[in-house]
Amino acid sequence: VSRRLVLLASTAVAAVLLVPAFNGAVTYYQEPSELVAAHLSGDQVRVGGLVVDGSLRRDHGDVEFELADAGASVRVLYDGEPTGSFREGQGAVVEGRYDGEVLVATRVMVQHSNEYRAPTTERP
C-alpha cells in the first residue's frame, strides 16, 4: 500500500510541476464575434471566419484584412504572405494575439468555404 501511495504522491507532484509548462501554450478557438465579446485579450487565439470582400490590403510585405462571421468582424494584421488559395470571400483560420482591437497573426491558414466550418460547431 505504501508503494502505491508513493506512486500516487509522485504523480501528483509531477502534475503540479507540469502546470507552468502550459503557460502561453494554450490557443483558444474563437469566432470573430466571440473574440470581440470575450475577454481573452493577450491570449493566443485561433479564429475562423470569412475574409471580408474588399477588405484585403497589401503593404510592404504585410497583409491586412477583415475576418468576419455573422455577428462581428476583426481586423487582422499579418507580416507575410498567406499560402495558396487565400482570397477575399473565402474561409480562413488565423492564429495570433488579439489586443482588443487588432488580431496580430502569427499564422494564416486557408480553409475553403465548402469545407469550412467554424470550430465551435464541430462538437461530435
Partner: protein, 628 residues
C-alpha cells in the same frame, strides 16, 4: 451487386467474430481460431472487393462515390481505400482480424506456463474485433448503396493524393496499432505474476518497428506535402500516434531488464498501450480533435467512445482485483538503467497525453475550445530528451549484475565524455552558442561512443547490432531535430520574371511561369533557377473539390535541406510570391528514423543469440542473460 456482396461479407465477418468471442469465452480456443479465420477471410475478401471497386471504378458503392474518381492513377485508386473514414475502418478491421487469428493460433501452441489462459485472451481479441466489425457494418459501411449512381467521383482529399508515404503510412500505422492488442489481451487475462511477457514480446517488437516506420513516414509526408515548413506540429493526431510508440518502447526496455515475474509496470504498459490506441482511434474518428486530419470526422465517435470506456473500466477492475503476485525483483546496473528508461518514457507519455486531452477537459469545464501548442510540448520534450541521452551515455556501459562502484563506471564513460567535450568546444569555436543545443550535441556524441563501445563488448549478435543501430538512429534523429529546430530560417519574397533574390542564403531566379491543364486539375508552375539545378514549385487547382494545393519542392544534402513553396502566382504579370525555408541537418531526421526502424526490425527478427549453457533450474528464476 458489389454493394450487396460487400455488405454480406461484412455481416459474415461480424457473425464469425461474435461467434469466436462466445466460443473462446467458453474455453474452446481451437473452434474460436477456426471462426476467426473465417472472419479474417470474410473481411479480407471485403477489402479486396472494395479495392476492385475503386480500381474499376464502380460508383454504385458509397466509398467509391465519395472518394474515388476515374482520373486517379492506379496507385492513388488503391490508396483511396483508406483515404476516408469508412474505408480506413475496413482496413483496421481487416488488420485486427488478422492479428486476432495469429495471436489465437499462437496461444494454442504456447505452453501452459507462458500462456495460462489462451482462450480468455482470444476472447478479448475476438470481442474487440467484433465490436469494430459491428461499427463498420452499422455506422460506417463503405459498401452502402448509392442511387443514382454518379458518373464520376471527387477523388480523395487532394493532400492525400500522389505521395508515396500515403501508400505506406496508414497500413503501417494501423498494423502497429493492431499489434498492440495481443499484449493488452495477454496482460489483462493474466495480470501481475504470470509469465505472459515472453508471449507478448514479439507483438511489442512488431508494434515498435511498425509504429517507428509509420510515424517517420507521416512526418515526412507532413513536411513534403503540407509545405508549412515543419515535420512535427504536436498536432493531436500526431501525439496520439506517438503515445503507443512510447509505451511499446518503454515495454521493450522493461522487458530487456529481464525482471521475472513481470511486474506491474509491464502490465500497465501493455494494457495502457492498447488503451492509448483505442484513445487515438476514438479521438481522431470522432473529430474531437481539430486538426489537419479532419477527414476522420464521422458518426463513429460515440460507439468508439463506449469501447474506450469499457476497456478503461475493465483494466481498472482487473487492476483493483489484482492482489499483488510475487514481488518483482530489484535489479542493479544496466538492468536498473533499462527500468529507469522505461519509467522515463512512460512518464513522458503521460505528459504528452495530458497536453493532448487537456483541451477536451477544458472544454468540458469552461466551454472554451482550445488547443495546447508546441511551447508546452517542447518544454517537456527537451528535458526528457536530455535525460534519455544521459541514460544512453551511461546505461550501455553499466555491468549487468554486480552493483558497480562509481569508479569503474566513470572510467568507462570517460573516453566518450572527453570526445564529447572536444566536439562541444569545436562547435563553440565554430559559432554555436545555445547552451541547451551544445549540451544535447555533447550528450549525443558521448552516447554514440557508449553505443559503439557497448556493441563492441557485446556478443555481437543480430540483436545487439540491431539495438546499437536503433540507438544510433535515435542519436542521429535527435541531432537532426535539435540542430534544425535551433537554426532553421525562412524568408519570403515577391519576384517578377528574370528577377533574382537571395533567401536564407540561397540564390534563386524567377525563370518563367507556366500553366498546364487537364480534366481534373489546373497547374501553375514556376521555373526557378537555384543552386544545383532548376526547381519547379507549383500550385495545383483540383476542380472536383474546388481546392488549391501548393506543392513544395526541396533540395537535400546531408548538411542542409531547403524547401521552396509557391505562395501565389499572377498568371498575367508573372509575379510570384514564394517562401524558402532552410533547415540544417534535416536529412538527419529522416536518416535517424530509417536507422531506428532498421535497427528495431533487425533486433526483433534476430534470435536471442548463443544460449548460455543450461543450468539446473533454481527457485529464484532470474535469467542469466540480459537482452540489451
Amino acid at each position: 451487386m458489389t454493394s450487396l456482396l460487400g455488405t454480406v461479407l461484412l455481416v459474415g465477418t461480424l457473425a464469425c467474430a461474435l461467434g469466436a468471442t462466445v466460443v473462446a469465452a467458453t474455453g474452446r480456443t481451437r473452434s474460436a481460431l477456426l471462426l476467426m479465420l473465417g472472419g479474417m477471410g470474410g473481411v479480407l475478401a471485403a477489402t479486396l472487393l472494395l479495392a476492385g471497386a475503386l480500381l474499376a471504378p464502380d460508383f454504385s458503392v458509397a466509398h467509391v462515390a465519395d472518394h474515388g474518381a476515374r482520373w486517379l492513377t492506379v496507385r492513388d485508386r488503391v490508396t483511396t481505400l483508406w483515404a476516408g473514414p469508412d474505408g480506413s475502418l475496413l482496413l483496421w478491421v481487416t488488420l485486427m482480424a488478422g492479428v486476432t487469428a495469429v495471436a489465437t493460433a499462437q496461444g494454442l501452441r504456447a505452453t501452459r506456463a507462458s500462456c495460462p489462459h489462451p482462450a480468455r485472451a482470444a476472447a478479448v481479441l475476438a470481442g474487440v474485433t467484433a465490436f469494430f466489425a459491428a461499427v463498420l457494418l452499422i455506422v460506417a459501411n463503405p459498401f452502402a448503396g448509392v442511387s443514382p449512381v454518379p458518373l464520376d467521383g471527387p477523388g480523395p482529399n487532394p493532400l492525400l493524393q500522389g505521395h508515396p508515404a500515403m501508400s505506406l503510412h496508414p497500413p503501417l500505422l494501423y498494423l502497429g496499432f493492431a499489434s498492440a492488442a495481443p499484449p493488452f489481451a495477454l496482460a489483462l487475462v493474466a495480470p501481475g505474476g504470470r509469465r505472459w511477457l515472453p508471449q507478448a514480446l514479439p507483438w511489442v517488437r512488431a508494434s515498435c518497428v511498425l509504429l517507428t516506420a509509420a510515424i517517420v513516414l507521416g512526418a515526412w509526408w507532413s513536411w513534403s506535402v503540407l509545405g508549412w515548413g515543419g515535420y512535427w506540429a504536436w498536432d493531436p493526431v500526431e501525439n496520439l500516434a506517438l503515445l503507443p510508440w512510447l509505451t511499446s518502447v518503454a515495454l521493450l526496455h522493461e522487458a530487456a531488464a529481464g525482471r521475472r515475474p513481470a511486474g506491474v509496470l509491464s502490465s500497465a504498459l501493455a494494457v495502457g498501450g492498447f488503451i492509448l490506441v483505442l484513445t487515438a482511434i476514438t479521438l481522431t474518428r470522432s473529430g474531437a480533435v481539430l486538426s489537419v486530419h479532419s477527414f476522420a470526422e464521422s458518426p463513429q465517435g460515440l460507439p468508439l467512445l463506449a469501447l474506450l470506456v469499457a476497456a478503461l473500466l475493465t483494466a481498472a477492475v482487473v487492476a483493483a482485483r489484482h492482489r499483488g503476485g510475487p514481488p518483482t525483483p530489484a535489479v542493479t546496473g544496466r538492468r536498473r538503467a533499462l527500468v529507469l528508461t522505461a519509467v522515463v518514457l512512460a512518464t513522458y507519455a503521460g505528459t504528452v497525453l495530458l497536453g493532448t486531452v487537456y483541451p477536451l477537459a477544458l472544454e468540458a469545464v469552461t466551454g472554451h475550445r482550445a488547443q495546447v501548442g508546441a511551447p508546452y510540448f517542447d518544454r517537456v520534450a527537451v528535458p526528457t530528451a536530455l535525460v534519455v541521452l544521459a541514460l544512453l551515455v551511461v546505461g550501455p556501459l553499466l555491468g549487468s549484475h554486480t552493483r558497480d562502484g562509481l569508479k569503474p563506471v566513470a572510467r568507462r564513460v570517460a573516453p566518450g565524455l572527453v570526445i564529447a567535450s572536444l566536439v562541444v568546444v569545436a562547435l563553440r569555436v565554430a559559432g554555436s552558442e545555445a547552451p541547451v543545443l551544445l549540451l544535447a550535441l555533447g550528450l549525443v556524441t558521448a552516447a554514440a561512443v557508449s553505443t559503439a563501445v557497448a556493441w563492441y563488448h557485446s556478443r555481437r549478435t543480430g540483436r545487439s547490432a540491431g539495438v546499437a543501430l536503433a540507438h544510433l538512429g535515435v542519436l542521429v534523429l535527435v541531432a537532426g531535430v535539435a540542430v534544425s529546430a535551433a537554426s532553421s530560417s525562412q524568408e519570403e519574397a515577391r519576384l517578377v520574371e528574370g528577377e533574382s533574390v537571395s533567401l536564407s542564403g540561397v540564390e534563386v531566379t524567377h525563370d518563367g511561369l507556366e500553366t498546364a491543364s487537364d480534366d481534373a486539375t489546373m497547374t501553375t508552375m514556376l521555373r526557378l533557377d537555384a543552386p544545383g539545378g532548376a526547381l519547379q514549385p507549383h500550385m495545383t487547382y483540383h476542380r472536383a473539390r474546388d481546392f488549391l494545393v501548393s506543392e513544395p519542392v526541396s533540395r537535400t544534402s546531408w548538411r542542409a535541406t531547403y524547401q521552396v513553396v509557391l505562395l501565389s502566382a499572377d498568371g498575367d504579370s508573372g509575379e510570384v510570391a514564394l517562401r524558402l525555408r532552410r533547415d540544417p541537418l534535416l536529412a538527419w531526421v529522416w536518416a535517424g528514423g530509417a536507422l531506428m526502424t532498421l535497427g528495431t526490425a533487425l533486433a526483433a527478427a534476430s534470435r536471442r543469440g548463443p544460449r548460455t549453457p543450461r543450468r539446473p533450474a533454481r527457485r529464484t528464476d532470474v535469467p542469466e542473460q540480459v537482452v540489451a
